[in-house]
Symmetry: C2
Subunit: 364 residues, 2 copies
C-alpha cells in the first residue's frame, strides 16, 4: 500500500488526474460496482474536479459510497430505452449510478441527432450525476450543441412568495462549439447560489452576501449555519422560480421522473430510490449548415465580447466556461488541488474500504 504525502499539511495537496480517476474507480469497485462502470464513473468524477467543479467531483465519493452501502444504488442496473422515436427517447436508469445513466442518454442523443438533426433524451430512475456541464460538453467533440437540464437532488427553493421547498436548484447547462476559441459552456443553478456554496461558506465560517437566502419572515438570511431556517432565492425573483419550474418539468415530469414533493433529499436519505431525471438536447450543427461557419461566428462573437469596453475596475470579461477551460489545462499540467480536509477524509475512506489511498503529486 502506498503512503499519501502532504495529507498532514494544511496546504491543498495536488493529485494527478489519472491518480484521482483510478482512486475513485477503486473505491467504487470495492463496493461491487463492475470495473468498467467504476472506471467510467471515476473518469467523469475526476473530470469534474479537473475543471474545478469541485462541489461535484471526488467530494461526493463518501456520500455515493454511503448510498451504495445503504442499498440505495442498483450496482447491476438494466439501463434501457423504454420509449423511442427518431428524435427522442426515455432512458430508464433502473436506479444505477447517475453518471452511467446520463452517459447512456447523451450517447443516444448524439447518435439520434446525427440522423434527425436534433434529438432529446430524458432519463428516469437515474441518480445524481455530477456537474451539468460534463454532459452539455460531450456533444462538442461531434460538432454538436448540447443543452442539459436536471432536477436537483434536494429541494431548497420555494415557489416565489412561498416557504414550501417544492423546487430544487435545477441547473441548466449548454455547450457551443467554437473554432480557435474555447467552446462556450454555460452551467448554472437557477438559484442565486447553489446549496453547495452555502455549505462552503459555513465551513469557512463566513457570512453569506444578501440575496442568497431569506428566512421565514422573508428577511435576508446571512448566517450559513442557520441555512436550515431559510430558503435559497431564485435568480431574478419570479423569473428564476419560473426557470427552476421549467427545468423541473423538462428534466423530471416529461420523462416520468420525480418533481415537486416526490424529490428525495439525497443528503438525508441514502436508501430511497430517488427517481432522478435529467434531459439532454443535442443539435447537430451540420443539419443547419457548415459547422465551420457556425464555429467562426462563435469565435467572432467571443472576440467581440472579450475585446469590448469594460466597467471601471474590471480587468477582464470572461465567456461562460472560459475559466473552467483554463483550469482544466492548468490542473492537467500541475495536478488537481484537493482541499486538505477532503484529502484526509478520502484517506480515512480508503482505510475503511481497505483500498490503496489517493496519492498526492501532479501525476505528470
Amino acid at each position: 500500500m502506498q503512503t499519501a504525502v502532504s495529507s498532514n499539511s494544511s496546504v491543498s495537496p495536488a493529485v494527478g488526474f489519472e491518480a484521482l480517476r483510478d482512486f475513485i474507480a477503486r473505491a467504487l469497485g470495492s463496493q461491487g460496482l463492475p470495473s468498467a462502470d467504476a472506471a467510467k464513473v471515476g473518469e467523469l468524477m475526476a473530470q469534474a474536479d479537473l475543471q474545478g467543479s469541485d462541489g461535484h467531483g471526488v467530494i461526493r465519493l463518501p456520500q455515493y459510497i454511503k448510498r451504495i452501502r445503504a442499498g440505495g444504488i442498483n450496482l447491476n442496473p438494466d439501463i434501457r430505452v423504454v420509449s423511442e422515436r427518431a428524435a427522442c427517447a426515455i432512458v430508464d436508469g433502473d436506479n444505477g449510478m447517475g453518471h452511467l445513466v446520463v452517459s447512456r442518454a447523451v450517447d443516444l442523443a448524439i447518435a439520434k441527432a446525427r440522423e434527425a438533426g436534433v434529438a432529446w433524451v430524458s432519463t428516469r430512475y437515474s441518480n445524481h450525476a455530477g456537474p451539468a456541464s460534463l454532459y452539455a460538453r460531450k456533444p462538442l467533440e461531434h460538432d454538436m450543441i448540447g443543452l442539459y437540464f436536471a432536477v436537483g437532488n434536494a429541494n431548497h427553493l420555494p415557489p416565489w412568495g412561498g416557504m414550501d421547498m417544492l423546487l430544487s436548484t435545477n441547473p441548466i447547462a449548454a455547450g457551443f462549439p467554437a473554432g480557435d476559441e474555447a467552446p462556450v459552456v454555460l452551467d448554472m443553478a437557477t438559484t442565486v447560489a447553489a446549496y453547495g456554496k452555502v455549505k462552503a461558506k459555513a465551513k469557512k465560517g463566513e457570512m453569506m452576501p444578501e440575496g442568497w437566502m431569506i428566512d421565514r419572515q422573508g428577511k435576508p438570511l446571512l448566517d450559513p449555519k442557520r441555512a436550515d431556517e431559510g430558503f435559497l432565492l431564485p435568480i431574478g425573483g419570479h423569473k428564476g422560480y419560473g426557470l427552476a419550474l421549467m427545468v423541473g418539468l423538462l428534466a423530471g415530469t416529461l420523462g416520468g421522473a420525480a418533481m415537486g414533493r416526490d424529490v428525495v433529499d439525497f443528503n438525508a436519505d441514502h436508501q430511497s430510490v430517488t427517481n432522478t431525471g435529467q434531459s439532454i438536447l443535442v443539435i447537430d450543427l451540420s443539419a443547419f449548415g457548415d459547422p465551420a461557419v457556425f464555429k467562426a461566428s462563435v469565435d467572432a462573437l467571443i472576440q467581440q465580447i472579450r475585446d469590448s469596453e469594460r466597467l471601471p475596475g474590471v480587468e477582464r470579461i470572461w465567456l461562460p466556461g472560459e475559466q473552467s477551460h483554463d483550469r482544466r489545462e492548468r490542473y492537467a499540467r500541475a495536478g488537481i488541488p484537493i482541499a486538505a480536509g477532503l484529502f484526509a477524509e478520502l484517506r480515512e475512506l480508503a482505510d475503511s474500504l481497505g483500498i490503496t489511498p489517493l496519492v498526492a503529486g501532479s501525476g505528470v
Copy 2:
C-alpha cells in the same frame, strides 16, 4: 367611417378582440400587406393584447407601419425552408413580417415533432414577432411542449463586467400542457427588466428600482429618462449574461441570423434588413408516454405549488402564465383596455392611413 368613442377620456377605453384584430389587419392591409397575411398578423398582435402583453401588441403597430413605409419589410416574401432533416429545419423569412415567419416555423416544428417526437426550427431573415409566449403556447393545443428563444431587436445588455451593449434582452418562453389547470407558460427576458418597462417608467415619470440598470461607472441608474446613459442588468448577474448569450446563439447564430454587433436597433433604424432569428423547440408528449399522465402530473404540481405555505404578506402564489390566462378570459368578456394615449395615437394613425379607426366597446 365609424367614430371612436371615449378617445377623449383619460380612462382606458376597452376594445373587443375582433375589433382590434380587424383594425390591425386594416392598417397593415392599407400598406400593401396581402389580406390573408394582414389578418394573420392582426390575429397574433391582438392575442398579445388579449393576454396583457401590451408592450408587444397593437402598441407596435405605428412602428411596424413606419418600417413598412421605409421599405424595411418585404410585403411579399418567399418564406421558405432552406435546410431540413427529420427533426429540424431553417426557415428563411425573406425579411417578411416576423409573425408570419415564426408562425411558419412553429407549424413546421409541430408537424415534424408529430413524426420524430421532437423538432427544432430556426428562423433567419425574420423580424420582430411579438411576445415569445404566443409561439411557445401554440404547440399546447396539440398536447405538445413549446420552447421558444428569440434575439431581441435592439442591444441593451453588455456582457457581465462590460459597457458595450452586444446583447439584447433575449427572451425564453416555454409552454407546458396541463389537464384541468391552465397551462404553465413562462415568458421572460433574461434581463431584470425588459426595455419596454424602462420606457413605461419614463412615461409615468417614475423612478426605477435599484437593480434594473447601471450607469457607466457601474452605479445604480434610477432615472429612466437617463436610460441611454446606462445599461440593463441581467438576472442573477453573470448567470443572466450567460443565459442571454445562450439564447442568442440558439436563436441567432445557429440559424444564420444576426447576433452581437450585427443586431440592428429596430427602434432607430426602420430600413435595414434586421435578419432577426428565433428558434422553436416542440416536444410531442405522446412520444414520451400517455399525454394524460403528463398533464395530470402537471395539475398535481400546480396544486402543490398553489396550496403551499406562503411568506407573511403574500396573498397568493402564482404559476407562470396564470395571470395572463386569467387576463385573457377577463378581456375576452369585458374587452381589452387600451391606454388613452395609445388609443388617440391609433386614431391619428387611422386618419393618416385613411382607414376606419378602432372603435371602443367590449365587442361582445
